[in-house]
Symmetry: C2
């Protein structure tokens, strides 16, 4: 499976969710069984010999790539969710959006101090959500090995928001 | 891995999301790498020799079990999402909640007529969301092989809402 074939399967949807935004739709990549398997395999490959204790996926599309990677690598899976979705005791972090703010949460017993984790999501844009998720994991004392994405929007400063961590993305959109 | 061990890892959280509700929290099952792998393996086993074309997962926890099953079985993965989350052309179905209503959507090109699909979610309660998801798949002409859950609340009439389909659940809560 070539990167070109994976990249060509991305669907760009103009004016979603707002006028002037071109939304990068990964659903065609998930739908194609060969592309889906390749994405998981390529993203997991670096960690095959030394997997993290947990793959941490960010709601909701980070769950899709994260859980398949966790299964492939034999790791546990930890979800980071939007406020109010996790039922047990949580830690939360607020972060700013272009308009307003959002909040993400993790169960306080999801990760123990020193546990190695890989944080994953589908798309790196401004990095706000991923930085808030990383802050949650830091509060729990996790050892964050890196933050991995399927797609990175290279024209936005997402890497700067996550400058403390190794960042990897499968596809760079310029 | 015994079913007893899997079942014992479920966490019951009283009064979430509302007073008097006991919420079944699957996050401890996902967090434990051996339990997580076992759940995926057991749920996928029936389909190993004859996998569906797609595993369809319902947002958001259905993404977690569904995508790992899709990876295991070599299927494509299709997400059914809450209204307004899918960027391309969608079909939608409204359904009633205890208070008010909700709406789920699927991309109109996610499944073609005759495609075999397995619908998965984490929990079967009243079956409202799963029945709406199945209706979406029927509208696209899918051949629904079954609807599979990690946990079924046996004291609620979820099976009746899905009576047209083979239903399987790993854990039956009485």
């Amino acid at each position: 499976m070539s990167f070109e074939k994976i990249e060509a399967a991305l669907r760009k949807v103009p004016d979603f969710p707002n006028q002037g935004i071109v939304y990068i739709d990964i659903t065609p990549l998930l739908q194609d069984k060969d592309i889906f398997a390749s994405i998981v395999d390529i993203m997991a490959e670096k960690y095959i010999d030394n997997p993290p204790k947990y793959i941490v996926g960010i709601e909701a599309r980070g769950f899709i790539i994260g859980s398949a990677m966790a299964y492939k690598l034999g790791c546990g899976f930890v979800p980071i969710r939007k406020k109010g979705k996790l039922p047990y005791k949580t830690l939360s972090v607020k972060y700013e959006l272009e308009y307003g703010e959002a909040e993400v949460e993790v169960h306080e017993d999801a990760v123990k101090p020193g546990d190695s984790v890989l944080l994953v999501d589908d798309l790196l844009a401004t990095g706000g959500t991923a930085a808030a998720a990383a802050e949650l994991l830091e509060k729990l004392g996790a050892n964050i090995l890196g933050v991995d994405f399927i797609v990175e929007l290279g024209f936005l400063p997402g890497r700067e928001a996550l400058a403390k961590y190794p960042i990897r993305s499968l596809i760079l959109e310029k």
